[in-house]
C-alpha cells in the first residue's frame, strides 16, 4: 500500500469514529430530552442508559452497514462506488464540522443528513454532478424529511389529546409516575433503534474504505474491531451527553409534562420502528422534534415556541447544503496531494477545537439542562406567584 493510501485509510477510520462520536452526543436528545425535562430520569442516568443502549444496538445489526450511501451516490459501470477514500474523508470533515456548529447553537439537526451532505459535496467535486443519484436524494432524503415531523407530530398530538382526556388532565392518582415509567420505556426503544441504525452508517464508511484499499475482500461485512469501535464511539458520545441540544428539545420548544413525554416518545418510537421496518429510515432527530411540537399543540394552554421551532427548521434546511459545501472544499484540498490531505485534517481538528472552546464559555451540562425555558406568559407567572 502506498503512503498516500495508507494515510487516507487511517484518516478515514479516525474521522469516521469522530463523526460517530458527534453523532452520539448530537442525538442523545432524541431519546432522552423529554425524560430529562419531565424528571422521569436524572440527566446523567438518562445519558448513560442511552449510551449503553446505543452500544448494544450497534452489535445487534450490521445489515445496512454494507451500503454507505443508500443509493445516493452512484456506482460506475463496473459496479464500483464512484467515491474514493480521499473523498469519503472530505465528506466526513463536512459532516463533523456541521454537526458541531449545530451542536454549538443547540440545534437538533440530522446527523445522517450531515453525513450525506458531506459525501454529496465531496462526490460532486471529485467525480462530478453525475455521481449523484438525484432521485435517490429526493426519495431517501427530501420526502422523508418533510413527512417525518408531520407524521410523528400528528400522532403525538392525537396521543396527547387521548391521554389528557382519559385521565382527566392527568389528575387521577398515580398518573404522573405511571407516565414517567411509560415514557422511559418508549425512550429506551428509541435509543436502541438509534444505535442499530446510526452506528451502522459509520461501520459502512470504514468497511467500504478498507475494501477500496484492498485490506479486506469486497462484499465482506464489517470486521469485529470496526463494529466494536463504532459502537463504543457512538455510545461514549451519547453518554457524555449533548445537553446543549437536549435543552432545546426538552425545554425550549414547549414545556413538556410526563403525559406529553409519554405521547411524544410513543409516537417517535412507533414512527422510527415502522419506517425502518417498512423500507425507508427516517431521521430520528426530525421525528422527535415533530413529536414534541405535536404534544405542545395537543395540550390545552400549552405554548409552542414557533420561533424556536422555526430556527430548528432552518437548521434542517441548511444541514445538507452546508455540509456539502464544507465537504467539497475539503475534497478539493484533500484530493490534491498527501500534504493537502494532512492539511485538511489539521484544519478540521483546529476548527473542532475552536468550537469546543467557544462552547465551554457557555456550558450546558447535567446541572442546568432544564433551565433557560423561554419566559412564561404573564398570566401564568401571576398564577405561580
Amino acid at each position: 500500500m502506498d503512503t498516500t493510501l495508507l494515510v487516507t485509510v487511517v484518516l478515514v477510520v479516525v474521522f469516521a469514529l469522530v463523526f460517530d462520536f458527534t453523532n452520539g452526543f448530537h442525538d442523545t436528545a432524541n431519546a432522552m430530552a423529554t425524560s430529562v425535562a419531565t424528571g422521569a430520569l436524572k440527566p446523567r442516568t438518562a445519558v448513560v442508559i442511552a449510551g449503553v443502549l446505543n452500544l448494544v444496538g450497534a452489535f445487534l445489526s450490521t445489515e445496512v452497514a454494507n451500503t454507505i450511501s443508500s443509493g445516493i451516490i452512484k456506482t460506475d459501470s463496473s459496479g464500483d462506488e464512484m467515491i474514493t477514500p480521499a473523498l469519503i474523508f472530505a465528506g466526513l470533515v463536512g459532516a463533523i464540522v456541521w454537526n458541531l456548529v449545530t451542536w454549538y447553537f443547540g440545534l437538533p439537526s440530522s446527523s445522517s443528513h450531515a453525513l450525506f451532505g458531506g459525501l454529496i459535496g465531496a462526490a460532486i467535486l471529485g467525480a462530478g454532478v453525475g455521481a449523484i443519484s438525484w432521485s435517490g436524494v429526493i426519495t431517501s432524503i427530501l420526502i422523508p424529511a418533510l413527512l417525518a415531523p408531520i407524521v410523528a407530530g400528528v400522532a403525538a398530538l392525537i396521543g396527547t389529546v387521548i391521554v389528557y382526556r382519559t385521565t382527566r388532565q392527568a389528575t387521577v392518582p398515580h398518573a404522573k409516575p405511571a407516565f414517567r415509567v411509560a415514557q422511559t420505556v418508549s425512550a429506551s426503544l428509541v435509543a436502541l433503534a438509534h444505535g442499530t441504525s446510526d452506528a451502522q452508517k459509520t461501520m459502512g464508511v470504514i468497511t467500504l474504505t478498507l475494501i477500496a484499499a484492498n485490506v479486506q475482500p469486497a462484499d465482506s461485512g464489517p470486521q469485529f474491531w470496526v463494529i466494536l469501535a463504532c459502537g463504543l464511539a457512538i455510545g461514549l458520545g451519547t453518554a457524555i451527553g449533548g445537553f446543549r441540544i437536549m435543552r432545546t428539545v426538552g425545554v425550549k420548544i414547549t414545556p413538556v409534562e410526563s403525559p406529553q413525554g409519554f405521547a411524544a416518545e410513543t409516537a417517535s418510537a412507533a414512527t422510527i420502528l415502522a419506517s425502518s421496518h417498512l423500507g425507508f429510515p427516517l431521521s430520528t432527530t426530525q421525528v422527535v422534534s415533530g413529536s414534541i411540537v405535536g404534544v405542545g399543540l395537543g395540550k390545552r394552554l400549552a405554548a409552542v415556541h414557533w420561533d424556536v421551532a422555526g430556527r430548528i427548521g432552518l437548521g434542517w434546511l441548511f444541514t445538507l447544503p452546508a455540509a456539502a459545501v464544507v465537504g467539497a472544499i475539503a475534497a478539493w484540498a484533500a484530493s490534491s496531494s498527501t500534504i493537502g490531505l494532512v492539511a485538511v485534517a489539521v484544519v478540521a481538528v483546529a476548527g473542532v477545537a475552536v468550537i469546543f472552546r467557544l462552547a465551554s464559555k457557555k456550558p450546558v451540562n447535567a446541572g442546568n439542562v432544564n433551565e433557560g425555558a423561554p419566559e412564561a406568559s404573564p398570566q401564568l407567572q401571576g398564577a405561580a406567584a
Binding site: L60, S61, E63, I143, V151, A152, V163, T167, L278, G279
Partner: protein, 71 residues
C-alpha cells in the same frame, strides 16, 4: 421521471397513527381504571392489568422489530 412509491409512505403514516392511538388509549385507560379500582372493583383492576398487558406486548413487539436476530 422520478418514481416515488407513495403507498409506502401512506402505510407508514397509517401504522404510526394506529399504534400511537392504541398505545396511548390503552395505557391511559389502564391508569384511569386503576383509579376506579382503588375502591373495591375487581373488574376494573383486571381491566387495568389487561390494558397494561397490551402495552407490554407492544413494547416486546417493538424489541422484536429492532433485533434482527429474532426474525
Amino acid at each position: 421521471m422520478i418514481e416515488i412509491d407513495w403507498s409506502k409512505f401512506a402505510v407508514v403514516a397509517g401504522v404510526v397513527l394506529l399504534a400511537s392511538v392504541v398505545l396511548t388509549a390503552f395505557y391511559s385507560g389502564g391508569v384511569r381504571l386503576l383509579e376506579t379500582a382503588g375502591a373495591t372493583s375487581t373488574a376494573a383492576r383486571i381491566g387495568a392489568y389487561a390494558c397494561f398487558a397490551v402495552c407490554v406486548a407492544a413494547v416486546l413487539f417493538g424489541l422484536w422489530v429492532i433485533v434482527p436476530q429474532f426474525h
